[in-house]
Subunit: 121 residues, 2 copies
DNA sequence: CACTCGCGTAACTGTAAGGTTACGTATAAT
DNA sequence: ATTATACGTAACCTTACAGTTACGCGAGTG
């Protein structure tokens, strides 16, 4: 079967992205595939900690792993980020309206205060 | 500390987005501002649970709250999602220019040049 | 005034997860 | 055949957090 329409659970993807270290790992892999140990050296945490992060990233299919001798090379797979992107896509139109929303918010707050001062009791 | 224009910690934002219920709340608010109780009714969990989700969303500035009588109206604020979007932006080239796609892209460019120099077939 | 309604918070529980150190297992080097 | 290297995994601790029930408080209503 073609690799074409693989669907990723955005659930697992979002969860994997929720940790700053994991996002940093992805950022690192953007500059090229690397062995696990080399990735671990870039962070102030222990190697097993990175190993577990990589496990989660693997589960989310955000990285792929293959062995070269006694090294395990990790490679970025940005494909699952598409579902995140498409989720955000639905909010992109709201950005332009963001100012208007803020305006109505402020007006509502203002109205509240006016109401409060109108009844000085 | 620099008082720069409103900047959002993508840390808190990503964390807030990591929970499926919270994302669903945002999806709900996309269709209009609503009081907390009304939001809670849309989910199979208790009202206090939603209240705590709303608290996290507030902390991430993804929603705003204002009071109307004894109701608390929650409003979507998509602004922090921009930082998420700009993070993903750096990966967008990776999936639109995967190796196979890059190959066909180059070939297409080449074909276009050939077309331009000769006559369209 | 008392009463209800809407909603947040406190207190508690179960579970996931990030961190550590210690250990196991291949592979490479000597 | 040792020994070192590059990992992952197990066991453990601690914190975060999603869920619950019980309660408190301000805002409307009679």
């Amino acid at each position: 079967m073609r690799n074409r329409s693989v669907t990723y659970s955005s659930e697992v993807t979002f969860q994997a992205l929720s940790d700053p270290t994991r996002r940093a790992v992805l950022d690192l892999l953007r500059r090229g595939s690397q062995p696990a140990g080399h990735i671990a050296e870039a962070f102030p945490v222990s190697r097993p900690a990175i190993s577990k992060h990589l496990r989660l990233l693997r589960r989310a299919h955000l990285v792929r792993e293959h062995r070269e001798g006694r090294n395990r090379i990790y490679q970025l797979n940005p494909e699952p980020l598409r579902s995140v992107d498409s989720w955000i896509e639905q909010y992109r139109t709201f950005w332009s309206h963001s100012l208007a929303n803020l305006k109505s918010f402020v007006e509502a707050e203002h109205a509240k205060e006016m109401q409060a001062s109108r009844k000085p009791k």
